[in-house]
């Protein structure tokens, strides 16, 4: 008996291989059976290798997507903290030298959190992001120094404090721009990873498909040549190949699908809400600066309008597409009405009332029909927007992180199962053709 392995072609030169192939083509049935068994077994082994490789690549890609998603949320968190701190600093300047201790504590807490957030973000950064984040860390330190200078000068009644405050804001804007670049690059990385996860399954599909094809063609050949309806081992191998092609590929596909859904669902919603929050706090800082500029804040008012259009667009998309953050829309809308009233008061020459409305939420001396009667309290309304958007953001980012972590869970087991299935199919194929071979002994 010629060992099966040799029928598959031992490495004895191209000429030998060609002679053997010619022998199989012209050969007798046992030779053909041995060759068929060898080819089918090889397809089984290939399924093991291809399947293992495909599932592994998909697992790695989904894990990359999860890590990038986590990074995106962290970067956005830092951006919101910086904008919040700047909004507090601008507002404090408006209130004069007597800064309320709780405001100071709020500011300190934000700056400290932003600094430690930057360290965390930098630890998991890659590529260009590392340089940008290093620059951002330097800018944050510079920002804090300028705000301290502004504060120290204000306390002594020195108007140069205003110049320091202006400069601090410019540094904050540069810092935020750097963070936005990192955010966009991280977004791209999430999308690339998901795309890689999607494209990773072809070796599994291909090898399972080829194995199934080999088994089906072989079975049909056996049935036609030997007039046996079913070769049981070969049929079992076929069932395994079919199961891998349906269930295995299904499980594998579902992992990528879940990951993709988490990204284009919860993570996209969280991304939109985080953008709305950053733009909202930016608008609030601009509002304070229009008042610092006292009747001449047209540039800051343009900034307010731009930021508010981002809030509106981001929240609208989050609410209509993902049913997220809808209650923050009303809150911001009410705040925007209050802001319009603040602008009316300032433009109408009542700067004191405008400042009071912006910093305390009510304005004494303005008649009840104008302010209190309208029920507008921009401070409370803005805080509502901040709280509601914060809740929605936490829920969605948590959901996205959980789904992404869960998505890879079944892949470890699947990897083992596919390897075993491929080897089992190879063994069964050999056994199936062996039954026919025995008839020639």
């Amino acid at each position: 008996m010629v060992p099966l392995a040799r029928a598959a072609g031992t490495p004895s030169g191209a000429a030998t291989a060609w002679r053997r192939l010619a022998a199989i083509r012209a050969g007798d049935s046992p030779t053909r059976l041995r060759a068929a068994a060898a080819v089918t077994a090889l397809c089984g082994v290939l399924l093991s290798i291809g399947g293992w490789f495909a599932v592994d690549r998909r697992e790695a890609a989904i894990e990359d997507a999860a890590a990038a998603a986590e990074q995106l949320i962290r970067v956005q968190d830092v951006r919101v903290l910086v904008v919040q701190a700047d909004s507090i600093a601008s507002g404090a300047y408006l209130e004069g030298g007597q800064e309320r201790p709780e405001r100071r504590a709020d500011y300190d807490a934000r700056v400290t959190a932003a600094a430690s957030g930057l360290v965390q973000v930098a630890a998991s950064a890659e590529g260009d992001d590392i340089d940008l984040l290093q620059a951002a860390t330097g800018e944050l330190a510079r920002y804090v120094g300028l705000v301290e200078q502004a504060r120290a000068n204000n306390r002594q009644g020195f108007p140069v404090g205003a110049a320091y405050q202006r400069q601090a804001r410019e540094v904050a804007i540069g810092l935020v721009d750097d963070l936005r670049t990192v955010e966009q690059q991280t977004r791209d990385r999430v999308n690339d990873s998901i795309e890689r996860a999607d494209g990773a399954s072809w070796p599994l599909v291909l090898t399972a498909f080829v194995l199934l094809a080999a088994i089906v063609v072989g079975s049909l050949w056996l049935a036609a040549r030997w007039r046996r309806l079913v070769n049981l081992p070969l049929a079992a191998a076929g069932v395994i190949a079919l199961l891998v092609l349906t269930v295995g590929v299904g499980v594998n596909g579902r992992a990528a699908g879940d990951a993709g859904d988490a990204v284009s669902g919860d993570l996209a919603a969280a991304d939109l809400i985080a953008q709305a929050r950053a733009a909202g706090f930016d608008a609030r800082a601009d509002e304070a600066l229009t008042l610092v500029a006292r009747g001449n804040g047209a540039a800051y008012e343009t900034g307010w309008a731009l930021s508010s259009s981002i809030v509106a667009a981001a929240l609208d998309q989050a609410c209509t597409e993902f049913d997220a953050g809808c209650d923050a829309i009303d809150a911001y809308g009410r705040y925007a009405d209050g802001h319009a009233l603040i602008r009316d008061l300032d433009d109408g020459g009542d700067w004191d009332a405008a400042v009071s409305l912006s910093t305390t939420g009510s304005a004494a001396g303005v008649d009840g029909a104008g302010v209190d009667g309208a029920g507008l309290d921009p401070v409370t309304d803005f805080d509502d927007f901040a709280d509601r958007s914060s809740t929605a953001l936490a829920a969605r980012s948590q959901a996205a992180a959980t789904t992404l972590a869960d998505a890879v869970d079944p892949l470890g087991a699947l990897q083992v199962i596919v390897v075993v299935a491929g080897l089992a199919a190879a063994g069964l194929a050999v056994a199936g053709y062996g039954q026919r071979l025995r008839e020639y002994r």
Binding site: F209, A256, W351
Partner: protein, 342 residues
């Protein structure tokens, strides 16, 4: 035949399975949009003709023969329109200590310029005039454009009267006589502008000011006698120049002695040195078409000078604060009312 059916089925299955995957991913960052009103085209600064330049720029229109009583402005006049509106809209600085600065403790804008505006407002509205002032905080560079665009009725912003500005706006008579000096770090060894030219020092000045026009003249930046000349750093506002000095970005600031005195008061590590190398007569700016308002304001200023109010304001802001060492206020600068009415 059977083979083909099986084959087709498998291909179809493979296609279906591979087509199952595919996700939209994260959308790009949201960018907002806002319609910005187009700003008026900036025209090149008109140049004075030789005749115009020869005429004394501090010459303003003759004051009204008699001031109308507060609350009774002549019908159809610029003042009547302001009175009807109930507010005098003024363009001021909020960070020029002693002249126009926001007091961070009270939030009020105060200074020499603000007190002068108070007199104008009282002449229009009566005793509560100062409360009828609506302040617009503007930068040096915004002084002329805000008057041309009628965003403000009047500007009091340590503004030097000169020929080029007369081509765009109108000035009151001179209400303060200042001069351009330099502010340096104490112990820097610079004792005048010549030292800065010799050392090639970095000198900061506010953009759109007469100070920067002066310091960028060849005699300072490129003297051509082997001295390196100063390096000029322009900033939007003169207070940014103090910041630049404190941050080591500039060695000196050039500006009006009055403004620099305010800086020296804010930063004990700086001092005003040397003689004034220009004369900077301050005037209140108004729209060039509001000749009646200029004449009204000149009449108010005549009152302020002769009643002793000018000396009071000077005493309050420049002597009591210790900014200038003087036993008593000097005489107010004389008014020249010889400009021909258009």
């Amino acid at each position: 035949m059977t083979h083909r059916v099986v084959w087709t089925g498998l291909v179809a299955a493979g296609l279906v399975i591979s087509a199952c995957a595919g996700a939209a991913g994260l959308p790009s960052e949201i960018t907002g949009s806002v319609t910005v009103e187009s700003s008026p085209p900036t025209t090149a600064a008109p140049a004075c003709t030789a005749d115009q330049a020869a005429a004394d720029p501090v010459r303003s229109y003759p004051p009204l023969d008699s001031l109308p009583s507060p609350g009774a402005m002549p019908a159809g006049s610029t003042m009547a329109a302001i009175a009807e509106r109930g507010r005098l809209v003024v363009g001021v600085s909020a960070d020029t200590l002693l002249f126009g600065a926001r007091n961070p403790l009270t939030g009020e804008i105060e200074g020499f310029d603000i007190d002068v505006l108070g007199e104008v407002a009282r002449a229009i509205f009566g005793d509560d005039g100062a409360e009828r002032i609506e302040y617009r905080v503007i930068t040096y560079a915004q002084r002329l454009p805000s008057l041309e665009a009628r965003d403000v009725d009047i500007v009091a912003h340590t503004m030097t009267i000169n020929c080029a500005r007369w081509l765009r706006i109108a000035f009151s008579s001179e209400y303060f006589d200042a001069g351009q000096k330099i502010l340096v770090g104490t112990g820097s060894g610079y004792s005048g502008v010549d030292d800065l030219v010799a050392a090639g020092a970095r000198v900061c000045a506010p953009e759109g000011s007469t100070n920067i026009e002066e310091i960028t003249k060849p005699q300072y930046v490129d003297p051509g006698d082997g001295r390196p000349g100063v390096e000029v750093i322009g900033k939007p506002d003169i207070s940014d120049c103090l910041v630049a000095m404190q941050q080591g970005e500039a060695d000196a600031t050039t500006g009006d002695d009055t403004v620099l005195a305010g800086f020296a008061a804010q930063d004990p590590n700086t001092e005003v040195v040397g003689e004034a190398f220009t004369r900077e007569p301050y005037g209140l700016g108004m729209n060039s078409a509001d000749v009646d308002f200029v004449r009204f304001v000149n009449a108010v200023l005549e009152d302020v000078r002769s009643s002793g109010r000018w000396a009071e304001i000077y005493q309050r802001w420049l002597i009591d604060t210790g900014a200038l060492v003087a036993a008593a206020p000097p005489d107010p600068p004389p008014a020249d009312h010889g400009r021909e009415l258009p």
